[in-house]
Symmetry: C2
Subunit: 416 residues, 2 copies
Amino acid sequence: MRHVICARCVKCGRAYDAVPDLTNCACGGILDIIYDYDYIKSVLHKEDLADRPYDMWRYRELLPVEPDTLLPPLRVGWSPLYEAERLAKQLGVRKLWIKDDGLNPTASLKDRASAMAVAKATEAGAEVIACSSTGNAASSLAGNAAAAGLRTYIFVPSRAPKGKLAQLMSFGATVISVQGSYEDTFELSRQAIARWGWYNRNAAINPYLSEGKKTVGLEILEQLHWEVPDYIAISVGDGCTIAGLWKGLKDLYAIGWIDRLPRLIAVQAAGCCPINRAVEENAPWRPMEENTLADSIAVGVPRNPDKAIAAIRGSRGLTVEVTDEEILTAQKLLGTSCGVFGEPAGVTGTAGLKKLCQQGRIPAEATVVSVVTGNGLKDVANAIRASGEPISVPADLGQLLEAFAQRGIAPEAQSG
Amino acid sequence: MRHVICARCVKCGRAYDAVPDLTNCACGGILDIIYDYDYIKSVLHKEDLADRPYDMWRYRELLPVEPDTLLPPLRVGWSPLYEAERLAKQLGVRKLWIKDDGLNPTASLKDRASAMAVAKATEAGAEVIACSSTGNAASSLAGNAAAAGLRTYIFVPSRAPKGKLAQLMSFGATVISVQGSYEDTFELSRQAIARWGWYNRNAAINPYLSEGKKTVGLEILEQLHWEVPDYIAISVGDGCTIAGLWKGLKDLYAIGWIDRLPRLIAVQAAGCCPINRAVEENAPWRPMEENTLADSIAVGVPRNPDKAIAAIRGSRGLTVEVTDEEILTAQKLLGTSCGVFGEPAGVTGTAGLKKLCQQGRIPAEATVVSVVTGNGLKDVANAIRASGEPISVPADLGQLLEAFAQRGIAPEAQSG
């Protein structure tokens, strides 16, 4: 890869050749892919993008793949960025955009990392990929690997919602449901991967995955015609996604396509916020319980705290924690005001933004992007909990009238 | 609309001005929108498409909207068309493409019709839209209307799966769950719409909705660079979707962008196939029970039989019925071979194609497109029924080894 210099440990600084099956540094630190930005500037220009397919690979010169790497088949990326005027007004910011990354092929942002994993596994000549996951990384890996003809072994905690399990099984993965926490699940996957030599798609082990995730940042800026928003809000679990987002933004700054960097808004669940707590206390992170219904970000022992904390600090970012109730309120808010249906962890970024606005921590003239990281269909039980049940009636107009009257619904007042 | 001549009844031929709030003909027949193809040929050329956004509105000259109509915000259409080489080989056809329409904003093809409904309701100055639906039309209407700031009243049969209900509630629709069949549901919605004068999004009443659905056909052909496949397979319930698909294909033929028409493969559930039965028996359609788990196409009293039967006959189409078991087998087949996860009704087209191939009714040199009409996340319970449960183990490698051995799983044999 002419445009990649090496992979460097974020802890000790040791450099490694960027071979396809990189894992962590010998010191235990996670690696970061280092690019030759001068070279990239010489071969990639904004105008080049005009003719390219609308998917994550349109930024190929900024991605750690060989020029001849066979790209995986599913169409990942270029999710819509909606301007949300009514919601901006309601929250009290000048402009707000919602990036609906739940519209990826397996319905979450994790497709970006999994597509990268499949591309790198193909480079490595692997036929089997494995990962542990709270659910979305798993289903995205299973789907992207199935499309490419690769086999998968997937480790999920037993709490993973039905929607994610259904995807996994349908994609033909061998799924191991681990009776324990995400930490237990991760550890069992580590042992199994070590034993059988599978290609490792654990996001905090394989340094290429953040590079896939960073495409969400590249897209947001391209969709905004390279006009930098003041803030980008996103939910934080393991730490890999916010780290990836930040990497993408820094890449664009490094090649001179944007002239400043947005500030990140890192949102965690109040019941599980080790990364935010570390930032707020300016202290090393400590494990926490996993007390939130937002299963995708219920990560008590984050696997990528270093990169995530560096991203939040590096962007002069804001941290905020939200309750499960605030998450469910944000879910309904996005649905009713924008027609965007996100899973609980997917809407946590918006919940945090709303809270910061209420606290007066976001200026009224600010421009903000909020990333929805997964589709609400992944976790239907909690959506129904958030939104209530329908009005059930027999097929009779009289009884419908009665049901409306009981609930104070007056259709006459609303007809156009 | 300079490019629209009128709306004409498919039964009695009576013509109507194409006003935004058209419903059925006085004779009860459904209307068809009639275009001035000579005019369209003079203003729309293939090259014009190059610079347009990738959504259903890129074919605006072929759609029944005013030039200044405000288009609804959600990004509907331009779903991916995947070439499925392994599956083609397995089924025994020369080429096969899967159109994954489950990647629309609310995860089904129905978004195409609902976006059109919102556009036309906006033209009509309506503030409330209503429909009855087996589920997907409902959730798509609720989502597209919410994004546009319109209110919705939605009637669904009580059997609608949880995923679709969760979407509806999250989008803030007023949802009436009717204790009865789809027919009962439709009838109650009819009475309520008549009473309150809401804008009517019932697909077999509002002639504009097929015009939205037809964009799936326009896209397939553009994605194939206007090379016509021999067959297009799709599931059939109410009849509106296959009728819309056929309308799109005929439009392209009428303006000279394609030089022949594909044959349609109309697939219904064996337990509910009134349209196919009418075609096969060359007799008027008769009601049937709704005996299938494919809820979206469980329509015993189809509301659009005329257009659907005309489409199947007009294309020299094939009909085929599949059992629920064959539907679930197709779901798993699409997941494992293509990484595409469809709901039961969504994969029924593929199930039918598979059956026809097995019966030797599709030539080996044929090229085929199979449309997946909705995402598997809409109906998780049936997906799990199709694909089985994961392997549940404690967080212990020894027990994992044992569980693998019990199931005959030998990871060593599969590592790359």
